[in-house]
Amino acid sequence: MSIITVGRSAVRRPEFPVAGKPIISVRGAEVSFGERTILAGIDLDIRCGEVLAIVGPNGAGKSTLVNVITADVELDAGKVFIDDEVEYSWSTRELAMRRAVLLQDIGMAFPFIVLEVVEMGRSPWAGMRESQHDDLIVAGSMSRTETVQFAARKFTSLSGGEKARVALARVLAQATPALLLDEPTAPMDIRHQELVLQQARDYASTGGAVVIIVHNLDLAGAYADRIAMLSDGSIIADGPPAEVLTADRISDVYDYPVSIVADPNTGAPLVVPVRAGRKED
């Protein structure tokens, strides 16, 4: 661990998250690749204790926004603050103690077994007092994602949905105040989609901040505290699901007519695309 833990004493630990406090703030973020503007001035606060869903049509800039937050894309203008400090004032490791990231691309170069993959999530805490509970945290995040039964299997031999759950387990094991999930539900079946969103809710209820990119607006409507809708690189709506998910707005942004109905069980908004009925009947 020597290379990773050089200067251990200087590492600044995150404080325990306080609900309502912004852990990540994006201010005036602008990104363009060549002539094309991807993000045109984004302001966004990601607060502890809430699930924030980022939605929007393909190419709206959702993934780029995540890349901005994780400092994987250079900003043309604007700043990102993590834990009240400008992002670049933190070391790679200090950032890893504050936010865990689940990307869409979750491949592994080598056939590590599932347990080893999840354990990698603990690496920012190596050599610190938090690492005493590594086994407990790893076991906990695996059981919460239903990955225990293939702990000894090779990651590369799993199906797409199973890989996605293992990757989620790794991110949960990192035990950071903020969690960024880029389309974690894409390869999953209904049961596991719901499971992921319920885990996100649990995470937020213990004080964590969860940012989740989803295409399924119903999931966002049912589980998110707040929805930020992106269109052409700008946030065009930011608020509680019932306010953001209106038929007019969605029809306009996605360029397809939809109607909104209430979930018979919960009253949460369900988005129903307007479809022509079959001709036969």
């Binding site: 103690m97 990231v101 690496s123 059981s143």
Partner: protein, 391 residues
């Protein structure tokens, strides 16, 4: 799994309830499947450790056997027990008789032992460099040659032979090989860097370009050189342990031991790099720093290895791959196992090079390529089958 089915049923039943006053909480709750005792960390880790332990034991025994046999077999056969006796005698133990032949002791200590030690060192260095290279590229087909260490070293060595430089005596050619290997890697790395980051694909393609230029330079030098120098250049490139000396061992030993120790400290970072460059950064690995250190260590190890013995291909490719198949890809065990595995493989290869054809010392680089080429082909086929294309 039965438990999970049960839970699923309950949740479905609950959501079908029609009594509106008794509606479930916002959503039916999925309890994650909990299998009591299902996650036995100790058992899973124990299995791995046992496997690794067996492999290390086998490799150590194989290394001792190969080294003793290497020292025993040659134009003058010295029984293995006498070889061990001579070794023990050197440290003051008279348990076994030394060589019975008149020149036995001399043959062992002046010709065979330096050669055996050199082979072991070079094999270890090449294999561990290969393992690191594959780890840092996240690709099991990577080899130190990718970033031009070997071809750069060959240019330096050939140039020194062509111009007949001898200001460092017998060490002139090795020094040139070593330095130009380092410089070439440095050039490949800096050229492919942009904006403080290095894309792996750019690095590989830059390596291809630099290798091509180096190939042209070697071709020109070979063309321009007088016959005797030309012969020397050609043979240097084919690789051989013929004529290894203690003084040479003394020079490369500290470099290679240092490289192997540094490599071991990089193991945890290399593991995590397997997640992909971005994800590795997100769990706190300074990818760029790790990569620079790996490059430097690989350049050091390979330059030191080829300096005296010439180019020996495929050891760095084949050894880590076989070991990964046996004990998995974790670098904490893969790197030390590669050290042993490379030493064993090259010892056996050198023994073959000396004994396959009577009274001839075959170029060892030719032998390893002859065996490694088909193996590389098999690896390509296999990894294509596994990932369903190039992933």
């Amino acid at each position: 799994m039965s438990e999970s089915t049960e839970i699923r049923d309950t949740s479905l039943r609950r959501s079908r309830r029609s009594d509106p006053s008794n509606r479930p909480a916002p959503t039916s709750r999925i309890e994650a499947v909990r299998e009591d005792g299902g996650l036995d960390l100790g058992r899973i880790r124990g299995q791995r450790t046992a496997r690794a332990g067996t492999l290390f034991l086998v490799l150590i025994i194989a290394l001792i056997a190969a080294s003793v046999l290497s020292a025993a077999i040659g134009q003058l056969f010295i029984p293995p027990l006498e070889v061990i006796g001579s070794l023990l005698g050197k440290v003051g133990l008279d348990w076994l008789p030394g060589p019975s032949h008149d020149f036995g002791e001399e043959a062992l200590w002046q010709v065979r032992f330096p050669r055996v030690v050199m082979t072991v060192l070079v094999g270890a260095a090449l294999a561990v460099a290969g393992a690191m290279m594959q780890g840092v590229f996240g690709n099991p087909l990577a080899e130190p040659g990718v970033v031009g260490v070997s071809s750069g070293a060959a240019v330096g060595a050939s140039a020194s032979i062509l111009f007949g430089w001898s200001f460092l005596g017998a060490f002139t050619t090795p020094t040139f090989a070593f330095v130009s290997g380092l410089i070439t890697t440095f050039i490949v790395y800096t050229v492919s860097r942009s904006g403080g980051r290095t894309e792996v694909i750019t690095l590989v393609l830059t390596g291809v370009a630099v290798n091509a230029i180096a190939g042209a330079a070697i071709a020109y030098i070979t063309f321009a050189a007088p016959t005797s120098a030309r012969e020397q250049i050609v043979f240097w490139q084919m690789g051989s342990f013929n004529g290894s000396l203690w003084s040479q061992v003394g020079l490369i030993l500290p470099l290679i031991v240092f490289g192997i120790i540094i490599a071991q400290t990089l193991a945890p970072g290399l593991d995590i790099l397997s997640l992909g460059e971005k994800s590795a950064r997100h769990v706190g690995i300074n990818v760029e720093r790790l990569r620079i250190i790996v490059m430097a260590v690989v350049a050091l190890l390979v330059s030191a290895a080829v300096a005296f013995c010439g180019i020996i291909a495929f050891v760095g490719l084949v050894v880590p791959h076989i070991i990964r198949m046996i004990i998995g890809p974790g670098h904490r065990l893969l790197l030390p196992a590669s050290v042993l595995g490379g030493a064993v493989l090259l010892s056996i290869a050198d023994l073959a090079a000396r004994t396959l054809v009577e009274f001839a010392d075959l170029p060892i680089g030719m032998l390893t390529s002859l065996v490694g080429g088909p193996f590389f082909f098999y690896l390509i086929r296999r990894s294509r089958k596994e990932s369903g294309g190039w992933a």
